[in-house]
Amino acid sequence: MLGVALLVFREVLEAALIVSIVAAATRGVVRRGTYIGGGIALGVLGAIVVALCAGAIAESLNGSGQELFNASVLFAAVLMIAWHVIWMSSHSRELVQHMQSVGSAVRAGSSSLTMLFAVVALAVLREGSEIVLFLYGMAAGGAGINGLLVGIPLGIAGGVAVGFALYFGLLRIPLRYFFTATNWMLVLLAAGLASTGARFLVQANWLPAMGNQLWDTSALLSNGSVVGQALHILIGYDAHPAGIQMAFWLAVVVLLLIGMRMSTRAPPRAAPVAVDSTRSAA
């Protein structure tokens, strides 16, 4: 039961942290609970499908199917986050003042927020497929229904609790800095996902490692610890990353910085009147 709870906790934790960041970053958006819930539900369905196709995935691409699939899911999430972060840079002032219109933009599918909800689905799909395979093995191997009935909810509750802790912690950031902060959390999240994607490609021998352990801080904070795992998702922490992981991490941060800078330099829209009237109304 404890073994079930621990594994479920660790996998749910990773997805829950991502959901929390997205939830914070979409603060104020109308009906974002529905969108996030929908993303999670879609992710769960996807996880079951992936688990069912695990054999086919594993055998594809000369045995590298698993790594390629994981890396693709990770890089797709990186691209989606990048799109959103750059979009946010050119719209953040309006976002704080016109939450309603952002909500309708989501409904129209024309905003980058749909990207973020897809990121939620991808995160749940990735971690969820491991959980599904693990639970199938436990059930088939005779872990006992009691172990599963107690362990699974316990693990989920634990992971979700940490996610909530992060979310409510983020909410305490003053509104003035809030969306800048969530934007940066998204940038670091994307950088971390890219680093992990690169690691999978090194594992499949599709990318060179370029130095297998740039540094080793596992004495300070190991990859296996809960804090280490949380930081792994939040900032891409790795106690001993390969050179190419660092390269991908830096590339994402630099490219997103450039992208954000370029989008804020775009000519200001003709909306000074609208801004003032809203401010006085608030």
Binding site: E59, E130, Q213
Partner: protein, 110 residues
Amino acid sequence: MKRGLVAGLIAMSLVAVAASAAEMPEYKLVIKDHKFEPAQLAVPANTKFKVLVSNQDSTPSEFESNEFNREKIVLPNSEVTVFIGPLDKGHYKFFDDFHQDTGNGVLIVQ
């Protein structure tokens, strides 16, 4: 022209990486009764090598290590290849994430 150069460099390094797989040392690990056989695997230092993990159980396992950064699911009655290294000398633990109580091993890099 610059884009072509970059693409060419990437293509060459991919070919180089793939070609090196041919002469790489190979080691076998078997998962049986949720245990690794052998539980200690001796491998050369500073060399990239591959490990063929074969799952002879009827439930999925996950070959994972926080010390040499690898994780791959091994389905029942199948085999996966994992590329590891080059690693410095030392002992690196690995485990079966799905059966952590019984599935534990050490990579002895020397």
